[in-house]
Symmetry: C2
Subunit: 337 residues, 2 copies
């Protein structure tokens, strides 16, 4: 009945003694591809079980080059899609034995401290799923040589030092644009998100290009400085307030669902108009709310699970060829457009 008397006192040495082997054999027993006999592993594992031993990952991180820890930097908690992404990513990472360090990047000035913070924990990779990561920040981060892998998830980046895993915004936006045109809408308003210098989306540009090609002019566009339904509702109101008839858009195409949900609220409750009869709305992401009978939002769904799967593959791959990858999602047609 020898019970550990201190916090977490049971170490690999204790197990080694109990199992009658060396500390290094204990170590081998806990890694899957080690050269160890089945008998030794058996002895070690039962001794470990009895003592309640579990390897210490802090020590492991210190002694090896891997920490099995990944930093996840998020900066816009107002966007409901972030919850979906976090669920998906943590699930995929945990499936591969990777832990997640969640860093709330409070504002743009906090980005560099947040990156440093991550590097202090020796993370194997840093995943960015926010918006405030412009070229300056990324360059500074990489100059410090602190990140084995810097991954921009669900957002395109042309920065050569980062790995971008995202949906192909051009294909997606073209599909949206063609759908909108086919449905007969002719007076679009494009609602874009915050303007970021880098790691941005090609959605606004692509939509404008398609429209220009087809009709010879660019669509009206507004920008919302945060992916926040409430703020989006406010900006939509400021933009459309007082306009009537053909002066109003007949469709609002939004950079993502967070913006679209706000737009719908404004159309219905502040302008007193109908969706889609008076103004149709298109989103992007397919957040859970988009499917609610109230919104019935037509939107573009990213293959998040597949993207997360590729992400963990990238984390395991050693080579650093160009690992950028674009995915294709699907347009989910509901009632809003």
């Amino acid at each position: 009945m020898s019970k550990p008397d201190r916090f977490d006192s049971v170490t690999a040495d204790d197990v080694a003694i109990a199992a009658g082997v060396s500390r290094w054999t204990v170590n081998r027993a806990f890694k899957k591809d080690a050269s160890i006999s089945a008998k030794s592993r058996e002895k070690v594992m039962s001794a470990a079980q009895a003592l309640g031993y579990i390897p210490d990952l802090s020590a492991s991180a210190l002694a090896s080059t891997r920490s099995n820890l990944v930093a996840l930097l998020v900066d816009d908690f107002a966007n409901p899609h972030k919850l979906v992404m976090m669920d998906c990513l943590t699930r995929a990472l945990r499936g591969r034995g990777l832990d997640t360090l969640l860093v709330n990047t409070l504002d743009r000035e906090d980005t560099t401290p947040a990156l440093i913070n991550a590097s202090q924990r020796r993370v194997d990779a840093t995943i960015l799923i926010g918006i405030q990561f412009d070229d300056d920040v990324l360059a500074a981060a990489h100059r410090a040589h602190r990140f084995k892998k810097l991954i921009i998830f669900a957002r395109t980046s042309r920065n050569p030092d980062t790995i971008s895993i995202a949906v192909d915004d051009e294909i997606a936006t073209k599909e949206i644009a063609h759908y909108v045109i086919a449905k007969g809408y002719r007076r679009p308003l494009y609602v874009a998100g915050p303007n970021t210098a880098s790691a941005h989306l090609l959605r606004k540009e692509t939509f404008a290009l398609v429209w220009q090609d087809r009709f010879g002019h660019v669509p009206e566009t507004v920008s919302v400085p945060r992916y926040d339904p409430i703020l989006s509702a406010e900006i939509a109101f400021r933009t459309l307030h007082g306009r009537k008839g053909a002066d109003l858009p007949d469709v609002i195409v939004c950079e993502n669902d967070a913006l679209a949900l706000g737009a719908i609220d404004t159309i219905r409750y502040r302008l007193g108009l109908r969706v889609p009869q008076d103004i149709a709305v298109v989103g992007f992401d397919d957040v859970p709310q988009a499917a609610s009978p109230h919104y019935q939002l037509t939107t573009y769904r990213q293959p998040l699970a597949e993207m997360a799967g590729y992400l963990v593959d990238v984390l395991e791959s050693a080579d650093s060829r160009n690992l950028d990858r674009k995915f294709t999602g699907e347009l989910v047609i509901r009632h809003s457009a």
Copy 2:
């Protein structure tokens, strides 16, 4: 121009040499209450700056009893309130120099592995903001002596080994019940969340008690196995489908907003009734959506920021008296009830 040639190669020793002091003086310069001369600190800091030195927290965690890392266990990503809580908690923790390890507890069986996972990283505390933490799990966790602090956040627990930081559900629910009664509602339906053996909410029980006291019978109650608006909508439909007039409730009181949002969708779009004229709805949490003009949800707002502030205080306090604490929030009256 001596630049580190390897990953993260710059260590306290390098800084010590550059600054002409010992390694231990470098160490002191980086902790705020150390006994060190201003001149030494100055020298160290500028040398550190020049070399790009930052302390390694893995090594620090290994050598000391603190890791400055806190595990956050979450298991219901369908509940939009979780996003608010994560934002609030990570913000508060980071303000105190604490990092967050986000652990997605996939299902009930995964809870113990998740707890072990956290302990492997030597976390200073484990915060539970999910639902699947019953007594068995908590007891097992504590028996292992692996957690300095086990905190149940936004949920009451009577387990003596845990610290519970939550809103006072009895006060809150009584306020809700009295409001509902004062507004003249007499046929309530209570929509509760998943039944957890421990760490549960006293909301359902309290509401039933108040109602019993006042009217001599307990209100009709249904349980939704997940805090998910979509599932809640479905269960509300199954419960109310086909009922008419006085056979329908005149108010639906929900354990939280996730359930309330779903209930509203069903009332309006599947039953074709009005909120609040035909059926009123009350929620709990005041998620961002609750304020949208579509829902206009009457709900109870928890003082999350204050609660998070107390949480970080608890983390810093060394004594282990009973640190449980209950907070009082406020009823936010909107249009839904």
